[in-house]
Amino acid sequence: MRYPSGEGLDRISLQVKRGEFVYLVGPTGAGKSTVLKLIYMEQKPSTGYVVVDRDNSNQIRESRIPFVRRKLGIIFQDFKLLDDRDVFENVAFALRVTAASPKEVKKKTLRALAEVGMSHRSRKMPEELSGGEQQRIAIARAIVNDPLILLADEPTANLDPKTSVAILNILDRVNARGTAVLMATHNYELVNYSNKRVVSIKNGRVIF
């Protein structure tokens, strides 16, 4: 995978198994986000392939990509919450696009909010919440569909250390429930305290 600027990924081979927790570390611009984009098929590799469950990026039709993404949960450092609707509707949104019944939407949304400890804030608007709370909502939205894997792109980059640890604990809990987690971060300190698998990339290549 290479951008017109010449930057990109080179001969990356990475496999994340079901239920695994993997840190993808590297400095800014190393290509961490590109790895995640390849997985959620926002971009396609120029050579090689990406397989998500049974969907291969080389063979997949464009119309199938939304269905691949329903097997994934994605969170970002800027949360990407919709500021025109409340917390409940932000989380429920991921279910509504899958044509879930209102009963199912309510049940799963309340469960996801409970998992991230935000049930009491369900009728608040995103702007009324702190950064940590907003990221919890983003996690709730990412897990509400029971994804196979949670892709987290620098989820703690905008948060203070204490809140970052709280977010990591939530991701741990999600992982313990059987969801694989692939978390991109440049925060080596955070990774050092963990006993998870670490994949380090630099200048588009895996260095260990």
């Binding site: 119309s63 939304p66 993404r69 990407k80 025109d84 991921a94 044509a99 569909n145």
Partner: protein, 289 residues
């Protein structure tokens, strides 16, 4: 599926509410465009009604020599009736002609007859033509057939060919102008709706990006935009048809039957509005999404 449909309709209408100002501006501009289109359509339709009325008054007059016997006149009448394109043949006797002359100049028929000692006006046949023969070309063909009859000479036939020519020339121009103006109005309404949907797409970039990330299909992302486009167009069409109705009623209060509007024009305005809304949103979605 039904849950998705409800959600999409709600999202579409919510989007309308969220972008109140731009939606209102788009609806007002669509209303103005469709009202203009409607006014133009009504003028064109009524113009064509007046032209038809004018054409229907057109008749060919065949003057008869005073020496013709009743039998000969009857024979001519039968011959005229068989000519293709002739709808009606009316005989105007010398007496009827002088009475008509009197009505025109408000004098007693006896005045002229007394002054001259005889009735100078000839008897005639007035021929009405079938609607599709009311063109200069077809009328000429009918005249040629009449001239083929032995008893009638070229100087015995009168008809207002010039009016037909003027009408034909100007109707063509009016149709061309109508198509051009109508197309410009429709295109401007289309552009306005499309531009409004483009603005909505830009203002909802974040929402659209999130929809894509959580696995929304393209149709799911586009449907609320189509609903908004159609709602804008439909509302514009509805208000415009209301305006048109008021305009027609007000004009009829002054002069009865000045403007006659087929009632189907009103739902047509609404369908046109909704259609323009859908087409505008389709254009914007294809280009910007």
């Amino acid at each position: 599926m039904i849950h998705s449909a409800f959600f999409l309709i709600k999202e579409g209408l919510e989007g309308f509410r969220r972008a109140r100002l731009s939606a209102a501006v788009a609806t007002v501009t669509v209303t103005i465009s469709i009202t203009l289109f409607g006014v133009f359509l009504i003028i064109t339709l009524n113009l064509s009604r007046y032209i038809d009325m004018l054409k229907n008054r057109m008749e060919i007059e065949v003057f008869l020599d005073d020496s013709f016997s009743d039998e000969k006149i009857q024979g001519i009448r039968e011959q005229l009736s068989t000519i293709e394109g002739v709808r009606d043949v009316v005989f105007i006797s010398k007496e009827m002609a002088i009475r008509a002359f009197h009505r025109l100049f408000e004098r007693e028929p006896a005045d002229y007859i007394e002054a001259l000692g005889f009735n100078p006006l000839p008897a005639s046949f007035r021929l009405k033509l079938e609607p599709n023969y009311l063109t200069s070309g077809q009328a000429d063909r009918v005249v040629q057939r009449i001239l083929a009859m032995d008893a009638i000479g070229a100087e015995d036939i009168r008809y207002d060919r010039r009016i037909l020519l003027i009408i034909e020339k100007n109707v063509e121009l009016a149709i061309v102008l109508g198509v051009i103006v109508g197309a410009i109005i429709c295109l401007s309404a289309l552009f306005l709706v499309s531009n409004n949907i483009r603005l909505i797409i830009f203002s909802r970039r974040k929402l659209i990006e999130t929809m894509k990330l959580v696995g929304a299909t393209p149709l799911f992302i586009q449907a609320p935009l189509f609903i908004q486009g159609v709602t804008q167009g439909f509302s514009g069409g509805l208000i415009a048809s209301g305006f048109l109705y008021v305009i027609v009623v007000l004009s009829s209060m002054r002069v009865r039957n000045l403007i006659v509007v087929n009632p189907e024009v009103y739902p047509l305005m609404i369908i046109l509005g909704a259609g323009l809304g859908l087409l505008g949103s389709l254009t914007a979605v294809r280009r910007y999404l």
